[in-house]
Symmetry: C2
Subunit: 235 residues, 2 copies
Amino acid sequence: MREHTVASFDEDLEHIDQLMRDMGDLAGAMLQSATKSLLSSDNPLAQRVISDDAIMDAKQRELDDRAITLIAKRQPMAQDLRAVVGAIRMASDLERIGDLAKNIAKRVGAVGQSTTPRNLSHSIETMAALVLKQVQGVIDKYVARDAEGLKPLRADDEKIDIQYTAVFRELLTYMMEDPRNITACTHLLFCAKNLERIGDHVTNIAENAYYVMTGTQLPPHRPKLDETSLTVLAE
Amino acid sequence: MREHTVASFDEDLEHIDQLMRDMGDLAGAMLQSATKSLLSSDNPLAQRVISDDAIMDAKQRELDDRAITLIAKRQPMAQDLRAVVGAIRMASDLERIGDLAKNIAKRVGAVGQSTTPRNLSHSIETMAALVLKQVQGVIDKYVARDAEGLKPLRADDEKIDIQYTAVFRELLTYMMEDPRNITACTHLLFCAKNLERIGDHVTNIAENAYYVMTGTQLPPHRPKLDETSLTVLAE
């Protein structure tokens, strides 16, 4: 027997969408604050990012619960099921973005206390700005149900990978020039890697969003341009 | 109208369980091969790990599809729903473990071509062995529905974090001693970080497995002993 329900499927889904928008906004804000705290050695701001991560986790849990309940209650088919499952997957990527922003924030103390080559700030800032634009863009396109608008996001992820490779090389060079740079550069290396991984999660979200909207896949493989795992600098 | 179904809920769930065991076995094998290829500069073995990741992704997709179909078809309640949702979450962590093993394998070329301080091998090997034991242990305990057996896994994750901190410091020291070590050590740093992150995913799996079995949470926070993000070595 079906229990009588007041809300329609669309209303339930709208609620899930709203949670995803909240998570997207929070992810963008955490990323922005994490970068700012890193580049300005702002420890209180970094602490806020770290505590925001608990809010992100709670929102994901709420979205998951609602989505599972919705599937069990309404047994949605085809497009509707795709939307609900897509929301679960996209929320998981947003939660990971929050985690990565938190990981950057956790390194602020260690970087700030060391001799940081300040010239690096600009390269990292450029990379972070690209990543932030991606995070905000993917949620905007999803909310607007703009499938075409998702396509350029992929190409932009390649720009992030190129910038990451540049930052990686720059950091290695600084370390080789002066051992006193090594500690700070090591932490910055992880921060840059985290930014690059956020870009990958945006690509995942774009793929899921596109599938939810169209029922078809974005072409499955993009050329992967993070080649730092192959980088061997002249020594 | 309900469609007539031959298989029981338990049979459907058993199939999902089997997929999770397969994913667990594959995760363990990938991790073992990734570590071996890293420590012995075995590029063909590393390539196999990289290609195994596609198998892992396919298995996760299959598990997800079956789980979602099961929820929609059977509308399971309480413990049954918990088991299905738990399987989705655990599979996602196993897939991430495969990804991290692949990321280690992708660095084998870069590390092998450089001057690697071979003394480091032992520390990394120790860490990898701890992590592998965790991956294998958590799946064994889940398959055996041994809730109590999951508890020590958490404490063991702390050993991984301690070992990671040791490896991290060792790598920084090597880099400071001789700039020629920097490139290889940087890649090894990411490998060690990936091992530490695999440990975190095992902890997630243990938490989900415990919840599936008991309906209660393992105490929510363990002391997090990866303190490398706070590490500032004397320079």
